[in-house]
Symmetry: D2
Subunit: 433 residues, 4 copies
């Protein structure tokens, strides 16, 4: 695939996009799609149940950052204007997955019952995902098929924009290859039906790019970190953010670590132990897969308290614990006259329940970015990520301040842009176009 | 005591102050006094050891906020320019107290050995404190005696300024009285030799005011919260800050609570258990004395996560634990779809080792304030306190940001003021004055 | 009520008991009644659900001591032979209470569904309990009514024996009275319609005595600790055991404390903090009610590690935590050369889920005791209690050993007794009686 | 080395032993040697300080099991009758090591000062240990040299017996070899100057055997688990016990696990994280070396709660924590109706302070065993070990009961044996021998 091919695809998709702008029962530019890659996993299912019950006001949007007082006045899409779809290699329907999560004690059964119609609608919008283990033709074809799925979704629902969020399982870190650094080389190998060079996360990112969707990477996988993929994203002008959702232990760490620094204490070590079951526990039991996760988790810590910190970290698969994740951290800091300060934290929560509201937040904020004409990486969404793209700010409080400021500034730009569009639309109508 | 009397006293003290401006071996305006009320307690002793070894570069100023990179360029007094004195009702010499703290494992023995001369010098500047249980004449006389002690200290060491810091034991909350609200009524009752209306902390505050010293309240006692005392402080124009040092559990809480809020979680309960021995443990075992402490500890929490929070809190005296304080907090928050999130923190540290560096920080910063001509309450020092005077900001990260900004702004004002003074001094010299 | 009256009552009840021995669909002497005082509380409801699903083999008897390998060969009543009834002042049906406990996440909904018929049957055997706040006539009349309820239950179900278990709320400790020590004085005051001297727990115990039932006290209330009541229990010859179910924190303590002692360590302090909501949390928030609980909790600890131990203990009502109880313990022990050893335990569980299986265990074991002709206190059931009656053994491991030995010895006596009865029965039949 | 050679060595050593029986200032048979392999490590140094101050009644024997009330009446050697010696490859004198441990905060400085003479005496009895990395001639020669060191120690101090305790660093598990199973093959390879087949721990065990000393293995290394070595120990008739001191986390586990079992709970998982610095932390950071440790730690757990238990376990080297070891365990058990019970334990202590008193206990008990004529493995000392030789009892409470019973029974045998010896001695004297 050369640059020309990319352009062709882009044109094709832009056409699809334009066609999608036909009015629906509500103004087209109010509706936003969320396309989840890994839509039938625990997080995806929780998002689907949650979105339905929140949109229908059967539950409050607790856990959603963007539902807070600080976002009053920011023209975010309403929960009721979010439409779900996605890819998954699993065929288990969302209704069944939701029932399993209710039986495990994670989702209240009454909410699953209440969300049946929402789950069925979302399920109808889930398409077969990319399974590297199956035969697929060239990866270029795969990308086109996936992008077409997204474009079709946008068209069917007359969506203003679609935000693709990758919530699939953590991958092993791929070995570096020249093709990862050169879009021409990359296009060639993608067109080769016998090669399957890219990890699935990068295929997902390409599909988002080709479909002109905003994109967020909730996993620590390679995805848009491959330079050639990132170059294409910038060229295409999508808004994107990542990486690796900051849901639990790292969230705590980045809230607590600055406290030690502000008080002049010297953090010697910060050891962590994570126990979890569920599908994520099994994935992370694979030492290869977990490596990117562990790297992602300690990077922020080192940035905050210094490279010297001793930070052993383990993730153990404990199947009997199910979806509840328990993390123990032990911090040793040195204070006045060399005195020993120890702090321990124990965090226990359903991991998918922490992740799901962030997906909704990210989607609302990237939709806002798109409306405001933001292109490329959005560093201010680093608030949501262990390994923030485009930013070296890990301090959770600073991230909070930056996010609030960005949301308000972007909200103003979006309002202006929307007003301009509306004016143009009215002018067009007046001109009989 | 009426306003006139106050003025007379002030004049008397100002005279003393002027007399003290005789040059010493280093420029008078570089040396700053720290006057500790409760100077022979664990914190006072730790300050004395620490100041000596830091000033002599035998130990790094770990645990001191003002030694951090963020304060580079702020014209704070150097550690070597800080001089210690104070009041205490105990006669146990600092050298002996320091040895006891070394034996208990708290202060490294080699530092105590190294600090002998510093301890002896500081001990020579400790005067008998105000003991409400003993007979003293009128409280007005007591205030004059205490203020004269401070003025004498300033004079002897040719100090540019003195910062009085109250680190004495927590008092019971006094019942409200009309005299607390009216400076005229207050002056009358203070002059009555048979009345002893004011709690010791307020007597301390008055002595600081009378001596024209900056003042900080490191305890949760009444002190400068009595309106009449505060009015006198403002009238006198001293800089002051308080209240109740934020050293451990509350420090954590105010660093962690904003994280839950930023993530849209609903904090239902935040329960705490504190175990400590030492003198503080015994003091806080008294339910009356502890009431002000507990109120102070939960106020910030409620301000951050909402008044609804269920926040039982206990402080137990466990003598065998000595000076190590252990605090367990259990937080229950509600997240997405009502899911349960629990977080526990366990903090363990020598309480005096946490407090001592803050005393040095506060003294340096109030000395800076004084140089810059700051008068009245300094809300930006709320960073150091559980119950910040003049501020309703409890979020530790926001406090950090505000402190940094204040320090730099005040530093610039101080530099300007110092330059003006120097110019004036040179002019005076030139004019032969 | 004098001794004569007691005898009359006893005779009356014995008659009822004899009448009850009519054969049912299974041999009368295989069926055992459990009469729960407080049957509609969380524990009672959990017992009802649990007994039904275990008896019907829809769930394993996990958590039941007597279902363990060590009890193989002991002729305990089968779960399917246990019949539930009880007293309660609440009118909320068990089916509704069970649904509430399912909604709270405590009992799996499918088990509640499966247990509907069992819940309805048990509910039909719940009679109005004794409410000290309501008018009742004399307490003697109350006792007679309650005992008649129990006798009727035994008769209706042709039960071999009934075990009364008091699982009602903790009471304040009553002030001592002469009547508590003298059965004649007690009988007089009980007959007085204007007096209501006895706490409810003692009324319950008397009803068990009058009905000739075995009795267990699962609460820390006065109950059978009043000497006059105990004298009557002995005179009547019932088997009884108590007191205050050892379900969580105290269970741990009595398992762990002997370890420190065996290793020659000196335990200085053992501090505890308990957080719980639910009905029990509210009850224990009353400082009067909680006093007996706290005393009960520390008694065993002092017996194991020495009277010197500093053992502050708090129980806080944290309604949002519901039925999950979380207990934090901090232990400070001194080891070799005075070195500091700290151990902390954090226990988190549904309190009713811990208590319910013990009720089944106690009922099975007291039924065995009765069959074997055991009379009076059964010290070996101290295994189940914080404050074991008739024993000063608190070491959980020693209690385990003693329980196993007692169960086997008593099982042999019971088998002998049963064989003798059967022989006698056959003889009677042969004689045409 | 063939069996004959072994006999020769043994004869040589027996001669040495006989020569040593010359009378000293107190009856020779009252003095017992402790020969520590790894004598200059943290544990060895702590033993040396502790033994001196306890023997001289400057400190109580806190932490020593055998100093407890349960051992009253058991004729153990007195602390004052224990004499220290040992092997080490380090040359750092004990006085310096002790000072380092005082500086680190572990041993109180006043005890180190008080123990100077004891440290010097013990240091004078430390001989160069076996360093596999250096050239030594054949391992047979090494064994002879080491055994001679021990024999010389016994002779110099006229010791009744010597107990060799291996407290050296954990070794990697050696690959199995035919020589480990056959004493003839073993002797051959030992004699080969170019072979160095045996791990150091087995060389140590052989030296103990050759010198006719009792032997205890405090590490998880191969040592006497090699069948050929064990056969020689049995043939030689020494008393021995092992393996891997049960000092902290495993101690807790074996005290707590039986509680879950006794209450019919099903333990699903028991995860552990260990943080430690010091030399032990560095050793255990080597994945090879730690494998034997980890296996040893989980074996007992599986034996107690079932093979099904999921038990991930990590040991992290965190140098800044020094000799304090912190262990976090997370236990998930299933209770009534499948309900979730979680328990967490956090243990924090100086590891060497936990180990040192056990060394004294083991030495006293093995000396008793020797006096009583006990030969071969002593399973009842499993109380002290993670992986008890000759026993499958891991339940700490059962081990305690067995130890007490064994000590009293063996004490009686020892008393009888001593009386017989004394009678024989008096007879000999009477006969003029």
């Amino acid at each position: 695939m050369n640059d020309e091919t990319w352009r062709n695809d882009v044109t094709m998709l832009d056409t699809a996009r334009t066609e999608a702008q036909t009015p629906a029962d509500r103004p087209a530019d109010d509706r936003v799609g969320i396309w989840l890659v890994g839509a039938r996993g625990s997080i995806g299912t929780t998002v689907a149940v949650g979105l339905h019950v929140i949109a229908n006001e059967l539950a409050a949007p607790t856990g959603c950052t963007t539902a807070g007082d600080e976002f009053v006045g920011v023209p975010l899409p309403r929960f009721a204007d979010l439409v779900l779809g996605g890819h998954d290699i699993s065929r288990t329907p969302l209704t069944l997955r939701a029932q399993q999560l209710a039986d495990s004690g994670m989702i209240p059964p009454r909410l699953v019952s209440a969300a049946q119609s929402g789950l069925e609608q979302a399920d109808a919008e889930i398409r077969p995902g990319y399974d590297p283990a199956a035969h697929h033709g060239s990866q270029a074809e795969v990308v086109r098929r996936l992008a077409a799925d997204i474009a079709g979704f946008r068209a069917r629902h007359a969506l203003r924009t679609v935000v693709v969020v990758d919530i699939s399982s953590t991958e092993p870190i791929p070995e570096d290859r020249p093709e990862f650094h050169d879009t021409v080389l990359l296009a060639e190998v993608l067109a080769d039906p016998d090669a399957a060079l890219l990890p699935a996360s990068a295929v997902t990112a390409l599909a988002a790019i080709e479909s002109g969707s905003a994109y967020a990477c909730f996993t620590p996988s390679a995805a848009l970190t491959l330079p050639a993929i990132r170059a294409l994203a910038k060229e295409r002008g999508i808004a994107f953010a990542g990486q690796d959702g900051k849901t639990g232990e790292t969230l705590l760490r980045t809230a607590i670590a600055p406290m030690f620094v502000a008080r002049g204490m010297h953090v010697h070590s910060w050891a962590g132990a994570n126990l979890l079951g569920g599908g994520d526990g099994a994935t992370l039991a694979d030492p290869e897969a977990v490596r990117s996760k562990l790297a992602s988790k300690t990077r922020g810590l080192r940035s905050l308290v210094g490279e010297h910190v001793v930070a052993p970290l383990h993730i153990d698969n404990v199947p009997d614990l199910g979806d509840i994740k328990t993390a123990w951290d032990h911090i040793h800091a040195e204070g006045f006259l060399g005195s020993r300060i120890t702090m321990q934290t124990i965090w226990s929560a359903y991991d998918s329940m922490l992740a799901a509201p962030l997906i909704l937040d990210i989607a609302r904020l990237l939709a806002l970015a798109e409306t405001a004409g933001v292109r490329g990486v959005v560093p201010e969404l680093g608030f949501f990520f262990k390994d923030p793209w485009g930013s070296d700010v890990h301090d959770f409080s600073r991230q909070t301040t930056e996010l609030y400021a960005w949301a308000h500034a972007t909200g103003e730009r979006a309002a202006t842009a929307t007003a301009a569009t509306a004016t143009a639309a009215r002018s067009s109508e007046a001109l009989g176009r």
